[in-house]
Subunit: 156 residues, 2 copies
């Protein structure tokens, strides 16, 4: 509990993100949702996850506003888990994980998936951290500063 | 084990990334390293983590090549954990988590940290997923395709 409390109330947005959606299966469920999976049975089939674990993770993701529960789009009695704006905004996190994995987690000749865009059919660009004027930044090019949310007023 | 095995051998790079560095404390340790933390005692002080847990996570991160262990930069007897290229390349993942957290995990008026760049002192750009020709992409603008690593040869 001490650990979770400290991440949840941290001034560091990385810590709060990890505390809310940082569990591995949560991010795998969200990855499925980016592939248009919406139903409990589909999540279960694709992830091979125990029903009780899947149910608890989906409840958590609904509670924190990543999914909303909607009637089935085909008019059947099923419920569907649909990403909210907060949920869709997780896309860069999942893409960053994907691109790191593509680069470092496969041997030459191993099969893996790559993201392409629908319009031109080309692989998407690598995500790069850039300054306001467009320069590519390494970790040592950046510093952290405390601000008040919403106002961006500097405290230090 | 079934779960870990399935993530480790998945064709999905997101799954392999989550399996290797997706544990919350691993990513918090890496975040500290991006702030130039290098020593066991500093990680422990900043994260408030039990020594045995910190030691196991650091060992894992060395074993998978995210850190290398080096003699202390000041010539003392301490060992330092220094990010490798593989480790430094985790930067976009941590920045994506930071920016999602900044946007969704703080109430108006709450204090949090923001990343600025050293040169112009401005907040860094939001990470955006873009196509090869620069268009911003939503999840529904993309599709996954299987390729062979290193060759980008399409299988499907």
């Amino acid at each position: 509990m001490a650990r979770q409390e400290s991440l949840r109330t941290s001034e560091c947005p990385v810590a709060r993100t990890l505390e809310s959606i940082g569990e591995r299966w949560c991010l795998m469920i969200i990855r499925e949702a980016f592939d248009n999976v919406r139903r409990f049975s589909e999540f279960q089939k694709n992830l091979g996850l125990a029903k009780n674990i899947l149910a608890s993770r989906l409840k958590l993701l609904v509670d924190i506003g990543v999914f909303e529960v909607c009637p089935a789009s085909d008019g059947s009695a099923y419920r569907e888990y649909v990403l909210t704006e907060k949920g869709r905004s997780i896309f860069p996190i999942v893409v960053a994980m994907r691109q790191w994995g593509e680069r470092f987690m496969f041997d030459e000749g191993e099969v893996h998936s790559v993201l392409f865009d629908n319009v031109d059919g080309q692989p998407i660009q690598p995500l790069e951290v850039r300054s306001a004027n467009g320069n590519q930044l390494e970790p040592t090019d950046c510093y952290r500063q405390r601000v008040i949310s919403g106002k961006q007023e500097l405290l230090l």
